[in-house]
């Protein structure tokens, strides 16, 4: 079962996305801020990382950099962004982000994007 590291500071959104992924038979590990995300990254070695850009303690850009610095595995990163963060999204792509999904997002669309990314790395 593919493993997703979900880093999102909004409790309700994190829980809802987590439940949705579980229903889709995806294994989810959650982190509620950037620091926890960075701690869990080397321990869990997920198949894909889904992160918000604006996070407490460590930003989404730091997460993207950390994921892309892992040499053992090519882990795709999808970022959540909101209106007005276009320049940060560009920076995230420069750092190696693979895709982005704008908030508000549809859970179905998010799941499709995740599965597509997972297919690419298979």
């Amino acid at each position: 079962m593919p493993k997703i590291l979900l880093i999102e500071d909004d409790n309700l959104i994190r829980k809802t996305v987590e439940l949705k992924f579980k229903k889709e038979n995806l294994d989810v590990v959650c982190a509620c801020d950037g620091r926890e995300g960075l701690q869990k990254l080397p321990l869990e070695m997920p198949d894909i990382v889904l992160t918000d850009l604006m996070l407490p303690y460590a930003s989404g850009l730091e997460i993207v950099s950390a994921v892309k610095a892992i040499e053992e595995k090519d882990i795709p990163v999808i970022i959540f962004s909101t209106m007005g963060q276009e320049h940060i999204v560009q920076e995230a792509f420069r750092l190696g982000a693979d895709d982005f999904i704008a908030k508000p997002f549809s859970l179905t669309e998010l799941t499709i994007r995740i599965k597509n990314q997972l297919k690419k790395t298979e």
Binding site: L12, I13, K15, E18, K20, K23, K103, P104, S106, L107
Partner: protein, 360 residues
């Protein structure tokens, strides 16, 4: 008995022991109280965190269901919802989720809001006499897309209270689109810059519709409504109000004239340049520069003499704007101006600046 003996009797070992014991007990009591208080606080915090966690899980499951009809509330949840402060927390969570999610989950959020009876709370808040509660109630109803409340919300668009007014205006435009701007016809209260920006941002996401009220807004006794109407005419190229906008060049208020000049630059016709040239001499320095800038967009070779005359202005800023305008609207005039600049050091350096800008 001497004074010294009296003091010695007073601070006898028994009394000292008693005092030490008393203060020790007081200290222990204070420490114990602090400990108990922290313990209760910690327990309450973790209790709240546990309930919030369970609540989030319950809401998340409800959002992922196809329908909320079959959702049941367990006793702990019923108890939780008995308190208004908790219901408000859930409303906030749902609004936040609605901002982040769309599609089926977004519809489920609204279903859940209605099923939990949270709309009643929002209505009570909107009907409250306290302004911040009223503003909050309007915001909640709008965020949850309660169209049936649009008429009641619209009644607050001219409220005395800025917060209430702003939320009601945002909600009305959100519900009705361009038609929602009709509140401008009755607005006597201020419409501040920030609210104007918010409304324009909202309209930006919509398809343009007819605005039959626009001529009326341009003639409004409310200065900020007039300025906002000018911005709308500018952004949505409302050419049919050109003459009315031109009339506003004679207004007493400088900010209104400034916006009218900007708008004319966007909705100009063959008469606009002449109107602006006539206005030029009576204008402030800032508006003079603005007129020259707009002439670059609406001007032609008919403005050549006027722009040439600007080379005699004392302010180099005006010369620069006039040169820019000439370069934009009159190729022959621009060549003429370049030859004139060859014999004049100041004009020569300004023309170099304009040439550099043209190359960019």
């Amino acid at each position: 008995m001497t004074g010294q003996q009296e003091i010695q009797n007073f601070i006898s070992p028994e009394r000292l022991y008693a005092a030490a014991a008393f203060f020790s007990i007081i200290t222990l009591a204070v420490v114990a109280m602090i400990y108990i208080r922290l313990y209760i606080k910690k327990k309450t915090h973790f209790g709240h965190a546990r309930i919030t966690e369970q609540l989030n899980e319950w809401i998340s499951e409800a959002l992922l269901e196809e329908t909320t009809v079959n959702i049941t509330m367990q006793p702990w949840l019923m108890q939780y919802f008995a308190k208004e402060v908790h219901r408000r927390y859930v409303t906030d969570s749902l609004i936040n989720a609605k901002k982040n999610l769309k599609g089926a989950a977004s519809n489920s959020i609204v279903d859940l809001y209605l099923k939990l009876g949270l709309k009643k709370d929002s209505l009570n808040r909107m009907r409250s006499l306290v302004w911040h509660k009223k503003a909050r109630g309007i915001y909640e109803l709008y965020m949850m897309g309660q169209q049936d409340m649009a008429a009641e919300i619209e009644r607050h668009t001219n409220s005395w209270f800025e917060g209430v007014r702003a939320e009601a205006q945002t909600a009305t435009v959100g519900f009705k689109g361009f038609a929602g701007l009709e509140f401008l016809s009755i607005l006597t209260q201020p419409l501040n810059e920030w609210q104007q920006l918010k409304l324009l941002e909202q309209l930006h996401k919509l398809n343009v519709e007819e605005m039959p009220g626009l001529p009326g807004w341009l003639a409004s006794p409310n200065l900020q409504v007039q300025i906002f109407a000018l911005k709308i005419a500018d952004i949505y190229n409302q050419f049919h109000v050109h003459d009315q906008v031109a009339e506003l060049l004679c207004a007493d208020n400088e900010a209104l004239r400034t916006q009218a000049i900007k708008t004319l630059g966007r909705i100009g016709n063959e008469e606009t340049a002449g109107i602006m040239r006539d206005q030029y001499r009576q204008e402030t320095q800032g508006n003079k520069k603005l007129i020259l800038r707009q002439l670059g967009m609406v001007g032609s070779d008919l403005d050549r003499n006027f722009l040439m005359e600007r080379m005699n202005e004392e302010d180099d800023g005006l010369k620069l704007e006039a040169m820019r305008a000439m370069a934009q609207c009159d190729a022959e005039g621009w060549d003429e101006l370049l030859s004139l600049a060859n014999d004049n050091t100041v004009l020569n350096s300004i023309s170099k600046q304009v040439l550099y800008e043209l190359e960019q």
